[in-house]
């Protein structure tokens, strides 16, 4: 999930876990409407979520071990030795082995983030939300964190929703991308759709340039935008615009997605997504379709060309695109109806 600052990304995340109540609309997870459900049910639903807050939001009075053990101690009747096993396993997963007794105030921002991830993971959540995992980290640590996210997705097959400003992350990590602007979801779809999109807001954001509809504080007027775009075209457009900040690069190239580290199981979500986008292929424009075709394996390409699809047996989740009449099931954060339906098990979002 991308979007300029102040367009409601954090509010969207907080609404998803029921910390904020939207004035209108509904948020449905596993048939429970988070907006209208009782306080008691809400606490039950939240156990399905793991959330990484911007600064990790660790409990300052506890050391890392107690922080990560906290949800287990509160929610499960597991023995202390079992808790110890789980906590050490998760700490190892995020590369924090050996720092159990450190206090959150004593460690670096990157370590706090990873500890926050470990704490979000201990209850085996089905949906994991990341609020700007890259903020305040150096590019190397961001690269490691992104790899960690992909590896985790391969290992636990949960739905990941990442809110970020880092275009490099957005280009290489997720299966699907969404862009919020002025409290509206401008576009949501497979990564190829946004990366090749000609929509001015999307293009401006992904290329990290000043020319376009997004202004410093508010929207710009149409004449100014047109003048800027003309000047940009005169210079040769995005492909000659050079490199933008935060990993933004010129043009609409679709870089290859990050793969899990060798030795880990294959990401189940990858195949599910391929089957889903193959079915949706005819809905996209030429550039997008071409980019998607490049990412598809041969058996699916054959199915696309023949027009007959058969889902892979035995893998969980939503394999196929929703029928055209169910298209409203995707997160729409607009004024009139706010609906966010999360699939029970899905790919990295």
């Amino acid at each position: 999930m991308l979007g300029p600052s102040g367009t409601g990304k954090s509010v969207f995340l907080k609404s998803l876990v029921g910390l904020l109540k939207p004035e209108k609309g509904s948020i449905v997870l596993n048939d429970v409407d988070i907006v209208r459900t009782s306080e008691h049910k809400l606490y039950e639903v939240r156990k399905l979520f793991g959330v990484l807050f911007q600064d990790g939001a660790l409990f300052g009075s506890m050391n890392l071990y107690d922080n990560i053990a906290f949800p287990l101690r509160e929610h499960t009747k597991k023995s202390e030795s079992e808790i110890r096993r789980i906590v050490l396993e998760k700490m190892d997963m995020v590369g924090l082995a050996g720092t159990e007794t450190k206090l959150p105030g004593e460690i670096s921002g990157g370590m706090r983030k990873r500890a926050g991830i470990a704490r979000a993971l201990v209850l085996d959540p089905e949906v994991i939300l990341f609020d700007e995992p890259d903020s305040g980290l150096d590019p190397v640590r961001v690269a490691y964190l992104n790899q960690l996210i992909v590896d985790l997705n391969a290992q636990i097959d949960a739905t990941f929703l990442i809110v970020t400003h880092d275009i490099g992350t957005a280009r290489t990590v997720p299966d699907n991308l969404g862009l919020l602007f002025r409290r509206n979801l401008v576009m949501f779809g497979p990564r190829e759709q946004l990366l090749t999109s000609q929509e001015p807001v999307v293009r401006q954001f992904l290329n990290g340039r000043r020319e376009g509809p997004i202004g410093m504080s508010e929207e710009k007027d149409v004449a100014q935008v047109e003048a800027e775009m003309a000047a940009l075209e005169a210079r040769g457009g995005d492909s000659h615009n050079g490199v933008g900040p935060k990993g933004a690069s010129g043009g609409d190239a679709v870089p290859p997605q990050l793969e899990p580290t060798e030795g880990l199981p294959e990401r189940k979500a990858a195949r599910r997504r391929q089957e889903r986008v193959a079915r949706m292929l005819h809905e996209f424009d030429e550039h997008t379709a071409e980019a998607i075709r490049k990412s598809l394996p041969e058996d699916l390409l054959a199915q696309v060309d023949s027009g007959a699809f058969s889902p892979t047996r035995g893998s969980r989740g939503r394999h196929w695109a929703p029928e055209p009449d169910a298209r409203g099931a995707e997160p729409q954060v607009s004024g009139a109806t706010v609906t966010a339906v999360l699939p029970r098990q899905g790919g990295a979002g």
Binding site: V17, Y43, R46, K47, L58, G60
Partner: protein, 271 residues
């Protein structure tokens, strides 16, 4: 998006002087208090947190309370000593001093210190957690901050208030005795003998009941303000400030009501 969804331009006062605002604020505080009361019997009870908080609140309040209680008892003894002499009722000096300390002085001193020292500490602690997203994180982990954090603090503050009230009563009466007998040259026997002339045991219990309720109010207001702190470190400072002021206002109002009820329920001695 329909026309009514368009954001409105900010008005002159932006609803700051809306007549319903104080109503909404007190309603929210009351709803919070009800939530806390509802969470009281819920299992599992956070016994560790309760003990830690009791110790914490006691440690920040005991010394200041004792130090305030001595001069407070002395002032009451001085005032009543001279008043009794003017009225020609020296034999009731001790009784009047005990009455004043037990019924009013002791719960009020307790309340001021519970609110000023204990409540502000609770509010600052919760406010700091709130702005660091710790409270949100706790809620997202499926744990109610009211049950996990607020309930133990409220109970701890009530317990400490009751104990402190006992401490203030003893120290206040002893201070009054010291000033009346040693410094003003009163008669020790008459001072002690008159204790039970006007005062009764019910006065002590009413003082303890007041302290219990003051402890409850102070902790609930502090927790309410702390959990709603926002806007960075300054927000925490504002929350602490507001919580102390609101608690004081509430305490004196509630004190008046309790005292009025007490006089209806327990007739004063000698009538």
């Amino acid at each position: 998006m329909t026309a009514t969804d368009e954001p409105k331009a900010p008005g002159l006062f932006d609803g700051r002087f809306s007549p319903t605002r104080p109503l909404a604020a007190s309603g929210n505080l009351f709803a919070f208090a009800l939530d806390t009361v509802r969470a009281l019997p819920k299992r599992p009870f956070q016994i560790r947190e309760f003990i830690q908080q009791t110790w914490f609140v006691a440690s920040v309040t005991i010394l200041p309370t004792a130090l305030v209680a001595i001069p407070f008892g002395a002032v009451i003894a001085l005032q009543l000593g001279s008043l009794a002499r003017q009225l020609g009722a020296q034999s009731f000096t001790g009784s009047a001093a005990v009455l004043a300390v037990l019924r009013e002085a002791s719960p009020i001193v307790t309340a001021l210190l519970i609110a000023g020292a204990g409540g502000s500490a609770i509010c600052a602690d919760l406010g700091a957690r709130k702005i660091r997203d710790e409270i949100d994180a706790m809620e997202v982990l499926g744990i109610s901050p009211i049950q996990r954090l607020v309930v133990p603090r409220v109970l701890a503050s009530m317990l400490v208030a009751v104990l402190l009230n006992g401490l203030v009563s003893v120290v206040g009466v002893a201070g009054g005795y010291f000033f009346n007998v040693i410094l003003q040259g009163g008669t020790p026997g008459a001072y002690l003998a008159s204790f039970s002339a006007l005062a009764q045991v019910a006065d002590f219990w009413s003082g303890e009941a007041k302290a219990l309720i003051f402890g409850l109010i102070a902790a609930i207001v502090a927790a309410y303000k702390g959990l709603r702190a926002g806007g960075g470190p300054k927000g925490v400072g504002d929350a602490v400030n507001q919580s102390v002021v609101i608690t004081f206002l509430l305490l004196f109002a509630v004190n008046f009501v309790i005292t009025a009820i007490y006089f209806q329920l327990v007739p004063p001695k000698g009538q």
